[in-house]
C-alpha cells in the first residue's frame, strides 16, 4: 500500500511537464561540458546569453554560502566555483526563486546550512568546498518540490508536525510514505546531478547510507544540525536532529573545533541575515 502510494507520488512529482522549467541553456551546457574540448569561455557565453538566469546564478555565487564576494561575471563564477557548481545552480535557480518568494524561512535555513557547510569544510581543509556548499544549499530541495507538487499534503505535514511534535521527515513519511530527502534524490537523479551532490541531499539524515561521499554528506549533516541548533531560518520544524556518531567520527570533530565553528558561524550569520533581507527588499521594490 505504502509502496503504491510512493510510486504514485514519484510519478506526480517527477512529471517533467510541471517540474520547474529547466532553462534550455542547461541542456546546451550539459552537452558542452561533456566535450573535453569546450572551454570555460564557450560555456560562460552560453549561460550569459540568458540574462535572467545569469543574474540568478551570480546572486547565488555572491551569497555568503561561498567564501568569495563580488563574482561579477559568469566566466569568473565558472572558474571560481567550477562548471559543475554553476550547472547545478542553473538547474536550481528556478527553484531558489520560488523559495525566496514563498518560503523565506526555508530559504534562510538553506543559505545558513550552505554557510555552515562551507565553514566546516574550510576549517577541516577538505577538498571541493564549493561542491559541499552547493550540496548544502540544495539539501532540502525536496521540501520545495513537495510544496510545489502536493500543497494539500504539505498543509497536512505541517499540521502533523505541530500536533505530534515530530521532525518534518517523520511527518512526511506518515502523510506521503516518503520524505524530502528521497524526493530531493529523485530530483537530483532526474537532473543528472553528480553523486557528490545527490548523496548529501539523499542521506543528510543518515550518513551511513552514503557510499561514495560519506565526508561531504557528513559535513551537510553537521551543518544542518548546527543551523537548527542556532535557530536560524525555518526548515519546517524547530527540533534539532541528533548528531550522528558516524558523521562526527568521519570528520574527526572534537569539542574545541565545535566551539570555534559555532563562534565563527554565529559571526557570519549576521551577514547572512542581511543578505536575505536585502534580497527580499530588492524583490519588493522591483516586483
Amino acid at each position: 500500500m505504502d509502496d503504491e502510494k510512493r510510486n504514485e507520488l514519484k510519478k506526480i512529482i517527477m512529471d517533467t511537464k510541471t517540474l520547474p522549467t529547466l532553462p534550455g541553456v542547461v541542456n546546451k551546457l550539459n552537452t558542452l561540458s561533456e566535450n573535453d574540448k569546450s572551454s570555460v569561455q564557450e560555456m560562460a557565453k552560453i549561460v550569459s546569453s540568458d540574462q535572467a538566469l545569469s543574474a540568478r546564478i551570480l546572486r547565488l555565487a555572491n551569497s555568503p554560502s561561498y567564501g568569495f564576494y563580488r563574482v561579477s561575471t559568469i566566466s569568473n563564477a565558472m572558474i571560481l566555483l567550477g562548471v559543475n557548481v554553476v550547472k547545478s545552480l542553473a538547474l536550481s535557480s528556478s527553484i531558489f526563486e520560488i523559495m525566496e518568494k514563498n518560503s523565506v524561512g526555508l530559504w534562510e535555513h538553506s543559505l545558513g546550512v550552505g554557510v555552515a557547510a562551507n565553514l566546516i569544510a574550510r576549517k577541516l581543509g577538505l577538498p571541493e568546498c564549493e561542491e559541499i556548499s552547493t550540496a548544502a544549499l540544495l539539501h532540502d530541495i525536496g521540501k520545495v518540490i513537495i510544496s510545489l507538487k502536493c500543497s494539500d499534503a504539505e498543509r497536512e505535514i505541517h499540521r502533523v508536525i505541530r500536533e505530534k511534535r515530530v521532525y518534518s521527515w517523520e511527518a512526511e513519511r506518515e502523510i506521503l510514505a516518503t520524505d524530502h530527502a528521497e524526493v530531493g534524490n529523485w530530483l537530483a537523479k532526474s537532473w543528472f546531478l553528480p553523486d557528490k551532490l545527490s548523496e548529501p541531499i539523499a542521506y543528510h539524515h543518515d550518513v551511513t547510507l552514503s557510499e561514495n561521499h560519506r565526508i561531504k554528506t557528513s559535513v551537510v549533516h553537521m551543518a544542518d544540525v548546527i543551523i537548527k541548533a542556532s535557530g536560524f531560518g525555518n526548515s519546517g520544524d524547530y527540533f534539532v536532529p541528533q548528531i550522528q556518531k558516524e558523521a562526527w567520527n568521519a570528520l574527526k570533530l572534537d569539542d574545541q573545533l565545535m566551539v570555534e565553528i559555532v563562534e565563527e558561524l554565529e559571526d557570519k550569520l549576521v551577514e547572512v541575515k542581511n543578505f536575505s533581507l536585502e534580497l527580499q527588499g530588492s524583490d519588493a521594490t522591483t516586483g
Binding site: 564576494y69 563580488r70 521532525y167 544540525v225 548546527i226 537548527k228 541548533a229 542556532s230 535557530g231 524547530y238 527540533f239 534539532v240 536532529p241 541528533q242 548528531i243 556518531k245 562526527w248 569539542d255 565545535m258 566551539v259 559555532v262 563562534e263 554565529e266 559571526d267 549576521v270 551577514e271
Partner: protein, 113 residues
Amino acid sequence: MQKIPLMLTKEGMVLARDVFRNDSATGIPICGKGTVLTESLITRLDHMDVQSVYVSGHPVWADGDRSLEDMLQDLDRRFEKVRHDSLTTKLYDIYVKYLKRSMGDDGGRREAE
C-alpha cells in the same frame, strides 16, 4: 555582538567588527575591531558618513529584543528531542556558553579578544 546606528553608540562601547567607509564591507577598514569608542572617534565616524557599527555584547535594548532567559528557553525547546544524546548535548552546552557570553553584561570585552 549587535549592530546599532551610530547615533546610539556611547563612549566605552567596543567595536565587534571592522568599520568601513559607507558601511560597505570592502576596501580598507577605517577603524579596527576591538577599538574602544570615544566621543571624538564617534564624531569622526559620523563625519565619514558611517551609519551603523557592530558593537560587542548587547548594550542597546529596543522593544522586541529578546532577553537571555528567552533565548535560553528557546534553545531548550529546540534541543528537547536530543538531550539524552551525549554528542548532541555537547553542542547544546556550547550554545549555552555562547549565548551567555555574547549577551553577557561584561560589555563583551571577552568577545573582542
